[in-house]
Subunit: 298 residues, 2 copies
């Protein structure tokens, strides 16, 4: 797995450098500090990596997609800041650090999330190289905004909140997973293909690949929530159980969940291989999700 | 003032019809209901009116600007929803009705604001007639997102929050006013001129006009907060005093504030008249702000 590790580290360095640059502190400092705090928390930068690796797989130029890759990471951070608020999941820890509102207070944390929501697409407009056609930028912006909104990320979060302490069916769980976390991963691979100006059928392949690993990733995350300690995970664990959240392992059991992750990852790999667009990094990334979900067996 | 009244009513009808259409209820219903609740509260639709009247003044087609006029109203509603939250201004009433979180709870209200922040620019992309050039849509989107963000609306709100219970100077008050409320009014007139493809000097004229009436509007609002009853205003009054907010009337006195509104409105009218782009509606709208601020003298 050395290749993947190196690749993740290089990508992290590249993305963090740009995020740091885009989010330079301006007046009033506190809001930029709060935005930076969560965006720049240590993380794998999985979504930006998926964007840039898909661009490469489709033979495009990664520099065209860097602002969008960073915008996706900012949107991800925004959703974490607001999800952690006392009126939502009320979380104190995130990636091993205090959550945004614990450091900056609820008002600034709410506003920092808002600010990221408009700053992220602004970065796409202002920082994407002028060589990229306006129609591509508009297509990316449209999909980005849909993904951020009530039909997608927020829709998933709403149904998640409404499902607490309730017995939910498979369809509802599927809706929560595919929208709350899946759609942003799916958009990441789509965006890569769109920037590379890949033909429509290839965009669809990456759409499907993103959908499959997004779902696998969420189930693996829920498995980890059960089997890991807070130390390892850097966030409050066992939260799902405590808050009576419905998760895949809870509905189907741990063993079935691990099998499902394996199946999804296998399908995801096959989608790429069957269309001759598999790259070593994308395959290894997918296998990594499988390994993550099997951690408890070691 | 009959002309203006008719014009306001017709504009209100047009904008409400489109807002109602854009915000059709989808799954999960509760989030769309929450978004609709605040967006469709009875209001004058001043900002959309400014967009469309500026388009007319510049000889453009209003249908090109309707989605953006509605997006501005949605952004305005978003800022109200989040400003009213317990962690911010903690308001119970807005336009004579319960605030969003009082009806839908804090979590949904927070998410409804978030959803509006991404839905508004999405409407600009999806609903602007295809006849409008991509570069104009991108310019509008960029300015919209800047106005919504930390350099503008949110920056103003942050400094406003930080200034509570503090003695602030003229520059700080000016920063709060121009960003928290001024910039969206300024963007409304700019957007109208941009959609009409007005030459750069005319866009600048409408930028200045928007800046002047935006400032006048905020001072008039603060005057009203002091002199009106809650019944008349439809929101909690005397809030500024209670929360120790610095306002123009507080720093300069009521008489000076009324004089300042008059001066600003006079300047605003002159900017239009001197450039031969005054329309009866824009002039009457400006005079209306003056009358509003003089209400107490009657």
């Amino acid at each position: 797995m050395n290749d993947l590790k190196t690749c993740i580290e290089e990508n992290k360095h590249l993305i963090n450098k740009h995020l740091d640059e885009y989010l330079e502190i301006r007046y009033p400092d506190i809001i930029w500090e709060s935005m930076r705090y969560t965006v720049l928390l240590d993380g794998k930068r999985l979504r930006p990596l998926l964007v840039l690796e898909t661009v490469k797989a489709c033979g495009g130029k990664i520099e065209n997609a860097i602002p969008t890759a960073c915008a996706i990471e900012m949107l991800h951070a925004q959703s974490l800041i607001h999800d952690d608020l006392p009126c939502m999941d009320n979380d104190d820890l995130r990636r091993g650090k205090l959550t945004n509102h614990k450091v900056f207070g609820e008002a600034i944390a709410t506003l920092a999330g808002d600010a990221l929501l408009s700053f992220a697409p602004q970065v796409i407009i202002q920082k994407t190289p002028t060589a990229v056609k306006n129609e591509i930028i508009l297509k990316i912006l449209e999909e980005f905004l849909i993904t951020a909104g009530a039909l997608s990320l927020i829709g998933g979060q709403v149904v998640d909140i409404q499902s607490e302490n309730k017995k939910i069916d498979k369809e509802t769980l599927n809706y929560i997973h595919s929208h709350k976390t899946g759609d942003l991963i799916r958009f990441s691979t789509r965006a890569g293909a769109i920037f590379a100006e890949a033909p429509e059928n290839i965009v669809k392949v990456f759409d499907e690949f993103g959908r499959l690993i997004g779902y696998a990733f969420q189930i693996a995350d829920d498995i980890l929530d059960i089997i890991s300690s807070a130390d390892e995970l850097g966030k409050t664990t066992g939260k799902d159980e405590k808050s009576q959240k419905s998760t895949y392992p809870k509905l189907y059991g741990l063993e079935n969940s691990i099998t499902e992750v394996k199946n999804l990852c296998k399908q995801a790999k096959n989608v790429l291989i069957n269309n001759n667009i598999a790259t070593p990094v994308l395959i290894q990334l997918t296998e990594n999700i499988m390994i993550k979900s099997e951690k408890d067996k070691k």
